[in-house]
Amino acid sequence: MKIKTFSTLKLFSFLLLTLSAQAPALAQGVPRLQLESLDHLTSRASQTVVISVDERVLKAGAPFLKSTDPDEAKVKELLKDVKGIYVKSFAFESEGEFSDADVQGVRSQLNSPDWSKIVEARSRKEDVNVEVFVKTDAAKVSGIAVIAFGSKDLTVINIVGFVDMDKLRRMEGQFGIPDLELERGAKEGKPQSDDKD
């Protein structure tokens, strides 16, 4: 019996330690991406832009924007249900400064069943690849992620909260989100094949 008690205690201790060690892994369902793996590109990039607008700012500021002012009303509407805007963008002088592994490091976080790719546009002619992923929780959009890259640039956008494609298009050029020209990109939900010309 004593031995059994000791084993139970050990098992309990083991479980506690295992659970605490796995806390970050349990948080994987969160629609915020971990983009630290891209930080090493900062030293190689000719231009780096990192934007982190979290819920504190949006929650505190957006409600005070005036609905009567057309400009403020537009922003207020855009930010409604948005809980965070995170952008990392790198421009390089030459090709080959970032690798497929860098892109894959982000893409792998979007492999879970709650993330689905809704847009994939590739154009070798224009040297642009855009992938848009949406995270849904209980049939409701809770986040969006965009990976856009060419041979000399890489941008990852992660918006937490409710954002649809229309809202994303309207947010282009604002809040640090570069103009990806999603308007003329691929059709939603229909991945496009490579543009070979």
Partner: protein
Amino acid sequence: MRERVILLLAATLTVLSITPIARPSKEEGYDGAVKLVETHYKVKRKKVPLLARAAIKGGRAAARIASSSIPELSEAGSVRLTVFEDQDFSRPATGVPFMSALRDALSAEWSPLVQLLSPGDNEQTYVYMREAGEKFRLLVVRIGRRDAAVLEIKLRPETLVKLIQDPDVLGKTLADEAGAGAPQ
């Protein structure tokens, strides 16, 4: 007895692993950032005349973002500014990137909002923020080839939201408005 020790050890380890480790107290954001610029680049600060500080209180930046609410920044309450002029910022005294050094120099309450780096032009702009009651304190550090500025300003949340609509110019605008001028 042994079981209790094991249990106690496990519980302690668990608590330690889920409790954020308290960082040693650091110099408050603005002072820490100014000191960092001085030590990182071995430069000396320049006293800022009241007039320069008045410029930002006058709210020209706010005028750009909302013509109907010019005094918005002037309501900010406090503005602290340090400028470094005509000194060499191309050779840091240490091999540590300024970006990492600044992150380490600031306490955990400060969150990065905007970071813009353009090594070719020798320009770096960092905007950090922290909550200050119902307002936000914004810390802007802008470093150019020959000039730099460190600015702290308190903003109302709605003003901050308007400013982050165009984060590319947020740091630059505030630093320039403060009289630091564009890095050369």
